[in-house]
Amino acid sequence: MAGGMTPAPQGNGTGYRAIVGPLLIPTWVMIGIFLVLPVLLMAVYSFLTKEFRGGVVWDFTLAAYDQFFLNRGLFGDEPPVIEWTYITIFWRSIWQAALATLICLIVGFPTAWFIATRPARTRAVWLFLVTVPYWVNLLIRTVSLKFLIRENGPLNESLMALGLITDPLPLVNTNLAVQLGLFYSYLPFMVLPVYAAVERYNFALSEAAADLYASRWVTLREIVLPVVKPGIIAGCILVFVPSLGAFLAPDLLGGAKTFMIGSLIDEQFRGSQGNWPFGAAAAMILMTLVLIVLTVYARAQTKGDAR
């Protein structure tokens, strides 16, 4: 093969084909053993029995899912009715994650567009500025936000100094603070992929539309959005998925009373509940939801490619 004058077939002329297996073994081993296997084991654990006072017993049962979906009364001997508590927590988490995604899009799209339309030099500065928060520790950003919106914090004091409000807004420990935290946490995740899509956008399309007397906003809706849609969808996924399982925002900004999925699961493992099977079941349900979202996304993607 080496030294031959005829061009080697694509992807085979460099000699790596023969060692694909050895090259991939580390990846298979690491992700296979330390992610795939654990997730499968978690699925098994969700069917185990909680030992009284914590720990698990290897007796298979549907108790965890039963606790999630059915309410059998305080003493467990009443006829089962639908348990709305956990469904509500999941529903509220989905709703909050969706809202965070929407707000991120409303703020992120114009920002990305604006940056992509700057001349090269200023664009680099803008891009640098939106990238920095993306690299800053999420915990630190959440703590900073909490400091800013505290009852006697800088935000309330500024608003009061400006005379906009007379009493400090009670933001911390509310759903609003959690919502704000999700939006703030994942905003950079929206701007960057949308920017990447807008940057590749061919503005001649907009000009052609303008020549045909389409207004700016019609052009945006009819021409731009369909073209940059993949970037927008990627941004939405990058915001929605981590928002759904967020732990820091609800825990630090919402107090322990406003549960989201993430804090509910955390409570089962690290809090006083010590109910591993129930936590595993909740994690399974969360993962199923995310997989559904990603599958729909992948389907849309391949359909888009086919077109």
Binding site: I33, R53, L74, R150, G255, S272, G274
Partner: protein, 342 residues
């Protein structure tokens, strides 16, 4: 795969072996031991101390049962929890001869029901749990647990509640006048309904945050430990600790020797160190509770000794200790707590 696992296990064992030399692994409550005291112990013995914290007896038990047993040398459960852990076989024992300062244990804390003759535990600190109110916000009468469970309009939505099953449920039971460890379904239902109704007026659940929310003003009233309330007052919050007429919770925290402790000898040394009156007093001066060691008085700060939190008024209703219920009964209380927290 197997090879990798073996290698990983070998690494872990190596790390574990290195761990056994001059180390001590403590599982402790948050904000319960001054760093200076730990440094003093390290200076005297050369033993390096690492401390992980927990925020309730129940979460400590759950973590240990879920695999952390064998990683820690000592923990600091309250009275009833010592009993539970002993019954679960989670404690190791020592003899008084191993611990020269064993005789310093105050007589009243020596023959306790949860560890007669103190073979697995030593007294750490004891104190009480009720609630405190910010007097800038509310000036009315605070002599009833109704402040927490049926709060006046000024305090509604501004109350922090301890994230601690046993304390919340006992205070609730005291408020309703029902006994602990009851199996009477009507009483349990009443407790459950009362708590669910009260929850709408609560802003947050939190034990480690219970001082900070009072100091920062995020909460105007909160369930709290007496010493922690004294610390909130020392940090500038205008809070008053209540000795409610229905009663309050009493507890004695004990340092226990855990089963499979990786550094048993160092653990004994540390417990002996904490039975030294001067060191026990250092904990009291820091945490603002009361020591269970004799001879601490000369070392105590006057502000701690004479604090209103540590000295209930003469006519105060006496506190009650938590009882360790039997398993079947405990499951009913667990259900109430799960129901409340969800």
């Amino acid at each position: 795969m197997k090879k990798l696992l073996t290698t990983a296990t070998a690494f872990a064992l190596l790390a574990g072996a290195a761990h056994a030399e001059g180390k001590l692994s403590v599982y402790h409550w948050f904000e319960y031991i001054p760093q200076e005291l730990v440094d003093k112990f390290t200076a005297e013995t050369g033993i390096e101390v690492t401390i992980d914290t927990y925020d309730s007896n129940e979460s400590m038990l759950a973590a240990l049962k879920a695999g952390k047993l064998g990683q820690y040398d000592v923990a600091v459960p309250a009275d009833f929890m010592v009993k539970i852990m002993a019954d679960e076989g989670m404690l190791d024992t020592f003899t008084p001869e191993e611990m020269p300062n064993h005789g310093n244990i105050a007589p009243q804390w020596m023959d306790v029901y949860f560890d007669t003759g103190r073979k697995s535990s030593i007294p750490y600190q004891w104190g009480g749990t009720s609630f405190s109110v910010n007097r800038d916000v509310y000036q009315g009468d605070i002599s009833s647990l109704g402040i927490i469970f049926d709060p006046p309009p000024e305090l509604q939505g501004k109350i922090n509640v301890l994230d601690s099953q046993n304390e919340v449920l006992i205070l609730g039971s005291l408020y309703l006048g029902i006994p602990q460890c009851t199996t009477d379904r009507d009483q349990l239902k009443a407790l459950n309904d009362m708590l669910l109704n009260a929850k709408q007026h609560w802003a947050s659940f939190g034990s480690d945050t219970s001082k900070d929310v009072l100091v920062s003003g995020d909460a105007a009233a909160g369930m709290i430990y007496n010493g922690f309330s004294a610390k909130a007052r020392a940090e500038g919050a205008n809070v008053e600790y209540s000795y409610p007429k229905e009663g309050h919770v009493l507890w004695m925290d004990n340092m226990v020797l855990l089963k499979d402790a990786p550094n048993r000898d160092n653990a004994i040394k540390f417990m002996n160190f904490l039975l030294e009156p001067e060191n026990a007093a250092a904990v009291t001066n820091y945490a603002a509770y009361t020591s269970g060691v004799t001879g601490v008085e000369p070392f105590l700060d006057d502000a701690i000794k004479n604090s209103p939190e540590n000295n209930p008024p003469a006519d105060a209703t006496p506190g009650v200790f938590a009882q360790a219920c039997d398993a079947e009964t405990q499951k009913l209380y667990d259900a109430i707590w799960t129901n409340l927290k969800k």
